[in-house]
Structures are given as C-alpha cells and as structure tokens.
Symmetry: C2
Subunit: 180 residues, 2 copies
DNA sequence: GGGAAAGCGGACTCCGGAGTCCGGTTCTGC
DNA sequence: GCAGAACCGGACTCCGGAGTCCGCTTTCCC
C-alpha cells in the first residue's frame, strides 16, 4: 500500500525539521518544536515514528554512519597514529557545529546499538594499528577513547561552547592522553 | 528567636538524609526521597531550604571545601607534577564512591560560585607550579583540567561504573593529557 | 465527481517531580 | 497546665514534555 502523497510529503518535512531542530538544540528539543518547524501538528510526527526515540534514531543514524565511514577510512591509512589524531580533531570540529553528530555518538538508544558496535569495531582496529605503530599506549581500548572524547565534548556542549577551534583543542588533549 | 527543638532536630535529620541520598543516587534523586529517608514530610524539607538547589548547595559545599583543601595541600608540595597527578587519582577514586563530591565539582549552581572560584584559583596555582617544573604542557589552564576531569567522571557515572580502580585509571589518562 | 479510506491537527490525557496549603499536633513561656 | 505560636505532613497545585483521540479534511480510485 503506497503512502498517500500528503503523508509522504509531511514525513519528509518532519525528517528535515527534526534534523535541523536537533542539530541546533540537541535532543532536549521537544517534539512540539519539531512539529512546529515542519509546519504540522505533533500527531503527524507520531504517525511517522511511534516515539521520540525512533525519530531521533532515524536522524542520528545517518550521522553515525558518516562517522563510521570516516573511522574506516582512517583505519585504512598507512600512518595509524596520525590518522587517529586527525580523525579526533575533525570529529570534534564537526560536532561543534552539529549537535546531532555529537548526540549520535553519545546516544545509548538500543535502536542504534548495531551501528555503534560497527563504529566501535572499526575504531578498535584503528587503535590496534596505532598501538602496533608505537604511537599509542598499549593498554588503550576503543571504550577509553570514546569515553574521553564523549566526556570532553559533552562538557563543551553543556558549556555552550560553539567555537570549533576550542573543540579541536580539547580533542588534541584527548589525543595526547592516548600517547604512550 | 531560637528554633524550636523539633525543628532543629528535623533540620539535622534532613541534612543527613540529603547527604546520604544524594551521595548514593546523585542529584537526580527527588526531594520526596530525601524526606522519606529523613522520616519527615517534604514540606519540612522546604521549610528549611526554600528550593532543592539550596539544599543541594548546603550539602555539596562541604565536599567542595574538602576538595579545595586537598588542592591547596597539593599546591604546597615541592613536586608539583607528582602532587597534581596524585590529586587527580585520589579525587577520581573519592568520586567513585561519593556522587556528592562529583556533583559538587560539576555543579554550576550560583550558590557555590564563590567556592568554585576559590578551588579553581588554587588549582591554577598548582598547575602553574607543575608547568614551571616542566611536568605539564605550558598552554594548560585549570578550566582544561576541570573540563577533562569532569567530562570523564560524568561519563563514568552515567555508565554506572562503581569500581574505584576504573575511575583511577581514567584520571590517569587525564593526567597523561596534561603532559608536555 | 463521489465516497471511503487515509491522513490531519490541536486539544486532550498522563506522568513525574518541584513547590504550596492548611487542619491537626507539639513545643514553649508564663 | 494552658494559650497560642511554631511546626508538622500529606494531599494538593503547577508545569512541561511525551504520547493519544477524534471530528474534520484531503487524497485516491473507480
């Protein structure tokens, strides 16, 4: 059964609105805000996604996929420690302007568990490579990097920091923490 | 006008209960929980402190003072870098078992602004000493340390991690990030 | 173009936690 | 020991955000 034209259109509007609103305000934004931005009633939002979490997962999963792709690319570079450092700095910079990416990386929602696992696996391989190359302390695991990175970025977000350079700087400190 | 005997007794009960409940559950615990633990109605809690924030400030400020004293002691030690490292590890370990200390260090409530400033000043002096001793990167400021430390510990708390050794380990990573 | 199904939206309920009210109880000064 | 002020506590309101309901509108298929 095909979706009615107006339903399809509204679904897309809602998705766009959710992307914008959540990127600007983070996941604490209300469904009402998303509905208002889309120019529809909130029931319409709930008709497309049964819960707020489902909508959030829909918009964040894309961001997580993009990030995973970047991790994989970094993993395949020859100089693992340098690739890792670059990845962290770039990721922080991206997060500075897009809360959605940040939330996606942080989120614990079950809907993204598989994607997170995939991302983590690639990260672990990158880290293993960096350790093998002697550019990283040997006892490090991907959870450590995730925790430090997420911790720092969460604090930056909470502080309302928007300057990408500052985010970059802290990512640099996290990278420094991983050195042998 | 002296406080009535029962009022004074209940005030102390509430304070003790708040310390316990917030240390165990963090600040997300409700006033109802505190009142129940104290064996008192919630109105009694509000009679002593006008808002939840005020009560929280009352119980956390002690913890912050204790921590500040430790920072000051560290500042006055001869080997600043080592004192700094020890301070971080000990603080993390303490936070693992006492959410209240953690919340006190993280909290942004205006009621503790003065105490936070005092703590930060001592930390800055400790850091300056460590930099002068060549044990820390020269561009570091106390906010950096605070942000990294709070970020990591917040994540640990959110993850429900209770093993002090793990908290210590991450504090060690934060210290590593400060090395020149 | 007409009718039925699909979709719409705003007003509604529900829920949890902060903060308030007031009738009943307990302490204190005389 | 008694008057009355101070205090008590549980039931209440208030608030904001998630999720639901239902009378009305739009679309689609014939």
């Amino acid at each position: 059964m095909r979706l009615r034209a107006d339903a399809a259109r509204n679904g897309a509007l809602v998705l766009d609105a959710a992307r914008e609103v959540f990127a600007e305000q983070g996941l604490s934004a209300g469904i009402d805000d998303v509905a208002a931005r889309a120019g529809v009633g909130k029931a319409t939002v709930y008709r497309c996604w049964p819960t707020k979490d489902a909508l959030v997962a829909a918009v964040t999963s894309v961001r997580v996929d993009e990030f995973t792709a970047r991790v994989v690319a970094a993993r395949d570079e020859p100089d693992a420690p340098a690739a890792f450092a670059r990845l962290m700095l770039d990721a922080a910079e991206s997060c500075a302007g897009n809360k959605l990416l940040h939330e996606g990386l942080i989120s614990e929602t079950p809907a993204l568990a598989a994607k997170r696992a995939q991302c983590r696996a690639a990260m672990q391989e990158l880290i293993d490579g960096a350790i093998a190359a002697g550019g990283m302390r040997a006892d490090l695991r991907s959870e450590d990097v995730t925790l430090l990175f997420n911790g720092a970025t969460s604090q930056l977000k909470a502080a309302g920091e928007t300057d990408p350079a500052v985010w970059r700087r802290y990512a640099g400190l996290v990278v420094a923490a991983t050195r042998p």
